[in-house]
């Protein structure tokens, strides 16, 4: 394994120190337990808390700040955080209007957030993100939450900032999730530091279709084909799921898994843009880059969100975080 690392055990804590220093104008770090929270939290506002295993950076810590999250709870690499993190974070950022947890649908995340919610006194709600359409809709544990999470956090974050109450934030979050579909493909596996070698291996001419974000295998190993064909496959799954009307306004998110250069991600964006433009969609907004990563995995995902005017307005609202920043 080749990584910049002193030891797998110290990587996360030291990295969080560095992150907090690098963005000290926006966030603070609490240790024991670990959470990243806003430098200035606001009274009277619904507090948004997310979290999950580390290794997906900038998700979620890079999304803490005005207009987005109030706190992020980083677990060990690819391991969901523990309930005490969410509890303490909630205490730190609760502005008196309740806490909204934004949780990616993975067993560990769901159960640990659930325990936190059970223990938390005071009003709280949870938005479960399950945008991964590589799994069938009736999958026994539901679909995974993947790159669509960024969009949920941005849109609901703007709503909370604008004064939406807890119920309204929850309703909006569920609406965004409903309107969002994602699918990803890996060209390589990734290497979890504690493991020391790639989680799986692919032949030189193989790709893994329908992967999540933890370096696990996906639904299917298929042959490496051209970027156009890959985009066609990913986009078709999403298209079949959302079934948007011609003239529908959408947000198109091309997410890199960490090891894919921007030059390729912009190629993918162009090809996906063409796919949906041909189908009459209005690609009103986009986000292209590495946002929900799987450490050093080469690969990417497409996410499409059907926008209404409310979502569009909230997407455009100012945001000031380490990884997303505009209008401020």
């Amino acid at each position: 394994m080749k990584k910049f690392i002193d030891s797998p055990a110290s990587l996360l804590d030291t990295s969080l120190q560095g992150f907090a220093k690098a963005h000290a104008d926006i966030v603070q770090l609490n240790t024991q337990p670990n959470f990243i929270y806003r430098k200035q939290s606001r009274q009277g506002k619904v507090a948004l808390i997310s979290g999950g295993g580390s290794g997906h950076e900038p998700l979620h810590s890079g999304f803490v700040g005005v207009g987005m999250l109030d706190a992020a709870c980083p677990g060990q690499i690819f391991t969901s955080p523990t309930p005490d993190q969410m509890l303490m974070a909630a205490q730190a950022v609760d502005g008196g209007s309740g806490v909204l947890f934004i949780v990616k649908n993975y067993a560990g995340d769901v159960m640990n957030f659930e325990m936190a919610a059970e223990m938390l006194e005071g009003p709280n709600a949870t938005v479960l993100v399950n945008d991964d359409v590589s799994l069938p809709k009736d999958h026994p544990i539901g679909r995974r939450g993947v790159a669509g999470t960024t969009l949920v956090e941005k849109i609901v974050g703007a709503a909370a900032e604008a004064g939406y109450d807890l119920a309204a934030c929850k309703t909006l979050g569920d609406k965004v999730v409903q309107a969002t579909a994602s699918m990803g493909v890996a060209l390589t596996s990734c290497t979890v530091p504690a493991l020391g070698h790639p989680t799986f291996t692919l032949a030189d001419d193989e790709i893994e279709m329908g992967v999540g974000i933890h370096g696990e295998r996906g639904r299917e190993t298929t042959k490496l084909v051209s970027a156009s064909e890959i985009v066609e496959q990913l986009a078709t799954h999403i298209q079949d799921e959302l079934n948007p009307q011609s003239g529908q306004k959408v947000l198109l998110h091309v997410n890199g898994f960490g090891g894919t250069p921007l030059v390729e991600l912009h190629l993918i964006y162009e090809l996906a843009w063409q796919y949906w433009q041909k189908r009459g969609l209005l690609i009103e907004r986009c986000l292209v880059g590495n946002f929900t990563t799987s450490l050093d995995m080469a690969g990417c995902s497409l996410t499409l969100t059907l926008l209404d005017e409310e979502m569009l307005r909230l997407w455009d609202a100012p945001v000031n975080t380490a990884a997303l920043r505009w209008g401020i």
């Binding site: 060990q76 969901s80 523990t82 993975y106 067993a107 159960m111 325990m115 989680t199 370096g215 639904r219």
Partner: protein, 212 residues
Amino acid sequence: MSITPRIIPDLIKAISSTINQHADAITELDQAIGDGDHVFNLQRGIEALQAHSSEIAELDWSAAWQKIGMTVMAAIGGASGSLYATLFISLSKQTKDKPENLESFAEAFVLAVEAVKQRGKADVGEKTMLDVWVPVAIAFKQDVEAGKHLADILQHVCTVADAGVEATRDMLATKGRASFLGERSKGHIDAGAQTAQLMIAAITSVIKDASK
């Protein structure tokens, strides 16, 4: 049941040693159909417990289970963290103000495993640790109720655990990360079932020695 929480440090030590000994094999299992971190998750939990084990040994059973539950809850994370936290915290609730005997523990154990099922929204046959814990809890309770000798119960429990692990091999995973793989999950033992079995084997062996 004359076994007191003073046995806990030995239990933790035995669990630690079997998990460490099988670390690579466990990783291989979680890697084949999961994300490969299961053994590290457990090791973090065991380490945290070791730091508190002498303190825990001084408590009564209900308080001990509570402390164990809170400790693993804050140390492990992941699916197994919340499930084991649920198991122990539930054991604490179920043993609270109850007589400290085998019958009472067996009943609590079955209820705690029920709580785990609820936490995981899962049951036997879904290729998880429940394929070990559920039959083990049931067998244990039945044997205790039937008045079997402790040594025989322990022996039986181990056999049931072994069978539970082996049964996961050909199952289709419908819970946990392995479920994302669909049919591809078949043919692999579930890592969480395997570690449950290893822990049960370690625990029964310590208790057997202690009750000689």
